[in-house]
């Protein structure tokens, strides 16, 4: 339909442009003919408005400039001149070019822009646009975030509102569609019969509304009558504000709140001994309608609070963690069986079976995601422990340090959080110990007396990024360099940029390494931290700015149990590698190998990428195929290829840890069971790459 409409618009615009040309030529003869000016303006206006409707944004934007000029001519602030006619004719031709589907590519946009500039130059410099009239929005506590709030709304429409075709009842209906609603029509403004005009509106309404749509949804109801309505919206209950507040307002208080009674009147009447509502009505101080709505208000607040409480009570169930772990194990088995089923179904070529298998696959995916989400915990549980750590340690060291946390609600797999604890403790200790300076030094350096460590977690795709940032002294490049040379990690000829230099502190052997534990703390090597993070399939990065501070960024996948991976084969063996690390797969022919003169390098789009022949690394016998596959992986910004015989496809991998005997196996991080019951080893890509680098280095030195 849209294509048809676009075509239709093109035809219409072509007609308009023809008319426009005629009008412009006539206008040239009779520059004062207002009728013609109006016609030109209208043509431009229609082309602009309709053009925008049907997606011709460029046409709309261009025509807008022309229209602006003719609006001025129409208004009498500008004269039709020969120049304007010439310019307009050129503009008309340009628009025709923009609309011509065949010529679209060939349109001279430079000329178009020049025309726009010329038209703009014709418009006298206008005053800066008056401050945009913005509607008052009480966004901070206005809801609209799925939480229910109760609002008190009083709407007084203009007396003559019906003459604009507005129906008050439809506004009220729209309001009541937003949520639970009580409406009371207030009639105290209705005049006596002799003053009564039948088509005027004297009634106004009090509405108590509980909705989760937010105050803007309420305001939207009145969008067309904004100028003709006296609207008062108050939040009376909702969000978290009322949770601890078990006292409901009394009728008298509500009326006071609403401004329907003064406190003196209220006090006087309270002295009598009847139900307050009755007393108020009897006293004629308050209209029965007002009491009615106040009662509704009380009732609705009570109802919405009760509902919130019952929702919260029903929202959580406590389950022992090991039951959840067992569930995750079972889902893992399920995923394995399911992939076996899919494979069998495809093998049998049985359409019925395949469709069942697909359905099972969909269900299993959902089951897996749900189950894994059950184990997700907010990382804040760990964060709170660090507050104490920072407090104790900074006191011990005589430093003044504040810990600021953000993103405590970010969720991560329970086991990941547990395993993250030690590395994070270590990183924070480092910041306190080596990062933040003593107060005196800070003051001398012109910094605030107390240092700040910021611990933040955010979601990023299927991983979580944890940042530890301090505003301390930053890393000492000289010292790192000296130490790296001393430890033989780099030679004193090596020229390293600051970034590369900082990464050295993660190198194994850089520090007198020990084991990361909560207590040992200082002196523990950063390489241990790095290994702990890598064991979680995460990465760690450091950035530092001398005198300003240091930021360490840890990126961790959301879960450890099941990963998306790529299944590859070498000989009869099959391996999987995390899909997150895979960039692309390319073919490696004998020719490529030949061209590289025996070096393990392959050219991918003009970049030379080193590769690692896994067949050789794992000492797998047999003949390699004529065309091998290179799986290009990217880890910490480095692209390295892994050569395999064949790429089999994507695979959902349920990770099984290796037995104790194999724990030290290089380049393997675990195993998984495949759909056909076979076993595939999970490649530890970072370790493989590190191993390959060592190998290269020793080759060079020999």
């Amino acid at each position: 339909m849209l294509d048809q409409q676009r075509e239709m618009f093109r035809e219409e615009a072509a007609e308009l442009l023809t008319e426009l040309e005629e009008s412009l030529l006539e206008l040239e003869e009779a520059p004062d003919d207002q009728e013609l000016v109006a016609k030109v303006f209208r043509a431009m206006h229609t082309i602009k408005g309709s053009g925008a409707m049907f997606g011709f944004d460029e046409v709309a934007a261009f025509t807008h400039e022309v229209e602006t000029v003719y609006d001025l001519v129409r208004g009498g602030t500008m004269q039709v001149t020969q120049d304007l006619i010439n310019l307009s004719l050129a503009a008309r031709d340009h628009i025709r070019g923009l609309l011509d589907p065949a010529a679209e590519e060939g349109v001279d946009r430079v000329a178009g822009n020049a025309l726009v500039e010329q038209f703009k130059a014709l418009v006298p410099q206008a005053d800066p646009p008056a401050a945009q009239k913005t509607r008052e929005v009480e966004e901070n506590q206005s809801g609209g975030d799925g939480e229910s709030w109760t609002y008190r709304i009083r709407m007084k429409l203009a007396e003559n509102i019906v003459f604009s075709g507005t129906r008050p009842d439809s506004l009220i209906r729209e309001l009541s569609d937003l949520g639970a609603c009580r409406i009371v029509a207030q009639t105290d403004m209705v005049p006596l019969l002799e003053d009564y005009a039948p088509e005027s509106l004297y009634v106004y309404w009090d509405v108590v509304l509980t909705t989760d749509r937010g105050v803007n949804a309420i305001r939207d109801v009145f969008i067309f009558v904004e100028d003709d309505v006296e609207l008062k919206i108050d939040i009376i209950d909702g969000g978290d504000s009322g949770d601890g507040d078990v006292n409901y307002k009394r009728i008298g208080e509500i009326l006071l709140d609403r401004g329907d009674i003064t406190s003196e009147e209220l006090d006087r009447i309270l002295g009598e001994s009847k139900p307050i509502g009755q007393k108020l009505i009897d006293s004629k101080n308050v209209d029965p309608g007002k009491i009615e709505v106040a009662l509704y208000e009380q009732e609705m607040v009570r109802a919405s609070r009760a509902q919130r409480q019952s929702q919260e009570a029903a929202a959580t169930v406590r389950v022992p963690a090991d039951r959840l772990d067992r569930l995750v194990d079972l889902v893992g088995e399920m995923v394995t069986i399911q992939s076996r089923m899919s494979q069998t179904a495809i093998g049998r070529d049985d359409a019925d079976l395949i469709s069942i298998a697909e359905e099972v696959e969909r269900l299993t995916d959902e089951l897996r995601d749900n189950t894994l989400s059950l184990r997700m915990l907010p990382i804040g549980t760990t964060f709170s422990k660090f507050k104490r750590l920072v407090r104790d340690l900074s006191q011990e060291l005589g430093k003044e340090i504040e810990l600021v946390t953000a993103g405590a609600e970010t969720e991560l797999d329970k086991t990941v959080i547990e395993k993250l604890n030690d590395p994070l403790v270590h990183l924070i200790r480092n910041s306190i110990d080596h990062g933040i300076e003593a107060p005196q030094i800070r003051v001398t350096a012109g910094k605030k007396r107390h240092g700040t460590i910021r611990l933040a977690a955010i979601h990023s795709g299927d991983s979580v990024i944890i940042e530890i940032n301090d505003d301390g002294a930053g890393l000492n490049q000289e010292r790192i360099r000296a130490k790296a040379i001393e430890k033989g990690i780099i030679s004193d000829q090596d020229q390293l940029g600051p970034q590369d230099l900082y990464q050295l502190i993660f190198a194994s052997g850089f520090s007198t390494a020990g084991k990361v534990t909560g207590v040992s703390g200082r002196g523990v090597g950063m390489d241990v931290v790095r290994r702990a993070i890598e064991a979680l399939r995460g990465t760690i990065n450091i950035d530092s700015n001398p005198g300003v501070g240091t930021t360490i960024r840890v990126q961790i996948p959301l879960t450890l149990a099941i990963i998306e991976s790529l299944l590859v084969g070498i000989g009869k063996e099959r391996y999987v590698l995390p899909l997150a690390l895979v960039e692309e797969c390319i073919e490696l022919t004998r020719n490529h190998v030949h061209e590289a003169h025996g070096r393990n390098l392959v050219r991918v789009r003009d970049q030379l990428i080193p590769y690692l022949p896994l067949r050789r690394s794992f000492a797998i016998g047999g003949d390699q195929p004529a065309i091998e596959q290179v799986v290009i992986t990217c880890f910490e910004g480095q692209r390295v290829g892994l050569v395999v015989d064949r790429v089999i496809g994507e695979h959902q991998t349920v990770i099984k840890p290796l037995g104790r005997i194999y724990r030290d196996a290089q380049g393997i991080s675990g195993a998984t069971i495949l759909g056909d019951g076979g076993v595939a080893l999970i490649l530890d890509v970072p370790q493989l790459l590190a191993g390959a680098e060592d190998h290269e280095d020793s080759n060079h030195s020999s």
């Binding site: 409409q5 239709m8 229609t46 408005g49 019906v162 003459f163 439809s170 067309f224």
Partner: protein, 119 residues
Amino acid sequence: MATILTVDDSKSIRQMVTFTLQQAGHDVIEAEDGQDALNKLTGDVKLVLTDLNMPNLNGIELIKAIRANAAYKFLPVIMLTTESQDDIKQQGRAAGATGWIVKPFNPDQLLGVVGKVLK
């Protein structure tokens, strides 16, 4: 569902509006300018959608003419405006327009406004 009179001198807009409204089950009468609209206006019409900038009788004049007729003084009228026409929007309100929709709009927005006024 209602009978709606749509007034616009742009054929393509008229067609898009008509198509959208018919899809939603409304009956549509098309008019190509204000004068044409007045000729075609009947008691069956429950809503008028009108462009503002039109030859013969423009949108503002059309709204005034509609309101001047006792039979149509409560008839909802929605203006189709462009963003640059804020002052015209005010004129339209003063003349008795019920609401407005800003061009460019999509079918959902159109049906939203129509639904709001016909509720």
